[in-house]
Every structure is written in structure tokens, then in C-alpha cells.
């Protein structure tokens, strides 16, 4: 079991679900500044402001998505991102590793 720990990520906007899957790392534009979340983070509920949310998938692919006005909650290794408005998921050029 040398695989890296992952967490379940679920991104939803008010109108429709955006993305869900396993991820190694997620960076969110939290109200107090950028915030990185790794698997097994402590339970947290944070508001987010307008900005870019980045997800690093299990295979190292990095996705970036515009989000505005919402919150994230992390509990039992499950990250839920709920936003009013979300752009479309874009694949970032650089890889995480």
C-alpha cells in the first residue's frame, strides 16, 4: 500500500454537479487566503470567495475551476465544495509532479 492517500471530492454548484472523484490535493480560495487541503485534514467548514480552485487528481493531472461565493466542508475524508456559480473545469498545463 505505497499509494498516496486520497480523498473523496465533490464539487457542486447551485444548478448542477460540477465534478466528483478522488483527489490528492485541493487548493481553495478560502476567505482568509488560499488554503490547501490534503487527505485526512481535520474537519473544517470554510467560506470561499471568488477565485480559482485547483484539484490534483490521483494520476497527477491538475484541474482548475473558477468558483464564486460558496463554502467547503471537509469531514471524514470527504471534501464537499458547494458554490453558487462555477465555471467549467479546465485542465491546467503543468502537472503536479
Amino acid at each position: 500500500m505505497s499509494e498516496k492517500a486520497t480523498m473523496q471530492v465533490n464539487i457542486v454548484s447551485a444548478a448542477h454537479p460540477v465534478w466528483s472523484g478522488e483527489a490528492l490535493q485541493v487548493t481553495i480560495p478560502a476567505s482568509g487566503g488560499q488554503m490547501g487541503i490534503l487527505p485526512n485534514h481535520e474537519p473544517v467548514l470554510t467560506l470561499i470567495k471568488q477565485g480559482k480552485l485547483a484539484v490534483v487528481e490521483k494520476d497527477g493531472t491538475r484541474h482548475v475551476i473558477e468558483v464564486a461565493d460558496g463554502f467547503i466542508s471537509f469531514d471524514s475524508n470527504k471534501l464537499t465544495v458547494a458554490v453558487e456559480d462555477a465555471g467549467t473545469l479546465k485542465r491546467a498545463e503543468e502537472n503536479a509532479e
Binding site: A15, S31, P43, V44, L45, L47, F71, T80
Partner: protein, 303 residues
């Protein structure tokens, strides 16, 4: 002969009506699939918000006006969800009936009511009767988007957050139609504000560690700010949910009404066709008897 022509034109007009009803029915049934998709798409978001509120309830002591407000306020808001278009059977009329009885009940309790209406039919009903309406929204009642839910919840939460002296309301009721299945839709009255949050009983897994685990939940930037941001969103998603169920009910109700109308038109056509055939047969028989009778009379004279 005249009656035959009349019957024929009635059959023609009824059958064109039947085509319209049938088309409406098919349109409604295609909209149901769409309404279901929209509702399913919005579900994860409202689930996420409910979960977050649930977490807040379990880990903090909520003391926010949205959850608690003095219930002895004199003003109460009522939101009625009606449809934009007719041809939906008793959909709008049963909502209006329920709204009226709710308003009467609240009046009896000595409360002052403020009426908010969504849907063109309801708005025109109350405008025609010169009733004071605090706010109206129109358009897209069969596929309400997030924008409508946002506008409605903003207006209502604003009215709710105002203090009693400024004309704020202390309670909010929503009258909407619940979608039970394709055939059954039920009008329901829901008290939306103040919110009654019921904490899940900490059963199974959590029981042991919960006592220590719960304070670990971190709220950033602070509990109060999180509450201020999330509770209005919770209201909005609840209202959106109501709008979506109402939309599904409206479409189903319209489909049912149009189905009945199509069947009625068909049986009317059958009836009229039978009458037309009978009258045609009667006129043929009459003509034959006339010809035979006159021919007989001529033959008799020659003999």
C-alpha cells in the same frame, strides 16, 4: 340536411381541438423529464448545504435570528407558488384556495399578513381583486432556475431580517404543490422561517468519540460569519427545492388535465359521428320512401 352540415362542422372543430390537447399533453410529458433532470441536478447542492447546516447544529450552539426569532411578531409573510399558464387543471385554483384559508387562519390569530406570489396566474388573480401584494415574480414556473430562487429568497430573507418596527415579518409560510407521483399532487403549507433545524441523533459510529471529536470541527473565518453566509443559502436552496417540486407538479397536473381533455374530445367526436351517421341514414331512408311512394302512386294511376 342542415343538421348534417352542423354536425360535420362540429366534428371538424372538435377534432382540431383534440389535436391541440394531444399536442399539449405530449409537450407536458416531455417537460416532465426535463423537470426531473433539473431537480436531480440541484439535489447535490441542497444536500451539501443541509449537511453543512447539520454539522453546524451538531458542533455549535446556533443562536442566529434565522433559527430563533420572537414568535410574537405581528406580521407574517405568505408565499404562494402558482403557475404562469393555465391549462393545468386545478393546479392554480387549489393553491389559491389553500392560500386564502391560510390567510384567514392567520387573520384569526390576529396576525397581519403579507402576500408574495410567484406565477402569472396567481398574480393576475390577486391584482384583479385589488389585494395588496408585497412582492411578485413571474416567468419560468415550469422550469425555475437558480436566479428566481435567489431573487425570491433574497426578498423574503430581507423582509424577515428587518426588525418588527421596520415592518419586518416574523414568520414565513410557503404554499406549494408537492409532487407525490404522476397522478397525485398535493397542496402543502410549509413554515420556512424561522428554520427548525433538527439535529440528527448521534447514533452508531459517533457515539464513542463524538464527545471529544465534535469541538475539533473548525469554522473559518468564524462561526458567526459562517452562519451568516450559510443560513441564507440554506433558505435559498430550500426555496429552490419548493419551486422545483411545484414545477414538477405543475407539469404533471397539466399533462393530466390535457389527457382528460383529449379523451373527452375523442368521446365527443365518437358521439357526434354516431349522430351524423344516424341523421344521414334517416335522410336516405326518407328519400327512398319518397321515391318509392311516388313511383307507387304513378303505377296505380296507369292501371
Amino acid at each position: 340536411m342542415g343538421s348534417q352540415l352542423a354536425l360535420k362542422s362540429r366534428i371538424a372543430s372538435t377534432s382540431s381541438l383534440e389535436k391541440i390537447f394531444n399536442a399539449q399533453e405530449m409537450i407536458a410529458s416531455s417537460h416532465i423529464a426535463k423537470a426531473r433532470d433539473v431537480a436531480l441536478n440541484a439535489k447535490p447542492y441542497s444536500d451539501a448545504i443541509s449537511d453543512a447546516v447539520q454539522a453546524l447544529v451538531q458542533h455549535t450552539h446556533i443562536d442566529h435570528p434565522i433559527v430563533k426569532k420572537s414568535e410574537n411578531g405581528t406580521r407574517v409573510a405568505v408565499l404562494a407558488l402558482t403557475s404562469d399558464r393555465g391549462m393545468a387543471g386545478p393546479y392554480t385554483s387549489s393553491i389559491i384556495r389553500e392560500t386564502e384559508s391560510l390567510l384567514a387562519r392567520l387573520d384569526e390569530q390576529g396576525k397581519q399578513t403579507e402576500l408574495y406570489v410567484y406565477g402569472r396566474r396567481g398574480v393576475s388573480y390577486y391584482k384583479y381583486r385589488n389585494r395588496d401584494i408585497a412582492g411578485t415574480w413571474e416567468g419560468n414556473t415550469d422550469k425555475p432556475g437558480v436566479e428566481v430562487a435567489e431573487a425570491i429568497s433574497k426578498a423574503l430573507v430581507d423582509a424577515y431580517m428587518k426588525s418588527d418596527e421596520d415592518g419586518g415579518v416574523s414568520e414565513l409560510y410557503i404554499v406549494f404543490t408537492e409532487f407525490i407521483n404522476m397522478v397525485v399532487q398535493k397542496v402543502r403549507v410549509l413554515r420556512m422561517l424561522p428554520v427548525e433545524v433538527i439535529a440528527d441523533q448521534p447514533t452508531k459510529i459517533n457515539t464513542d468519540q463524538n464527545a471529544e471529536a465534535s469541538p475539533l470541527y473548525a469554522f473559518e473565518p468564524s462561526v458567526d460569519e459562517v452562519l451568516d453566509a450559510i443560513l441564507p443559502k440554506y433558505i435559498q436552496s430550500r426555496i429552490h427545492e419548493c419551486l422545483l417540486t411545484a414545477a414538477a407538479s405543475e407539469t404533471a397536473s397539466r399533462q393530466n388535465a390535457m389527457h382528460t381533455a383529449t379523451e373527452n374530445a375523442r368521446s365527443l367526436i365518437d358521439d357526434l359521428t354516431r349522430k351524423l351517421n344516424a341523421s344521414r341514414q334517416a335522410s336516405i331512408t326518407q328519400e327512398l320512401t319518397e321515391i318509392i311512394g311516388s313511383a307507387d302512386a304513378l303505377n296505380k294511376k296507369e292501371e
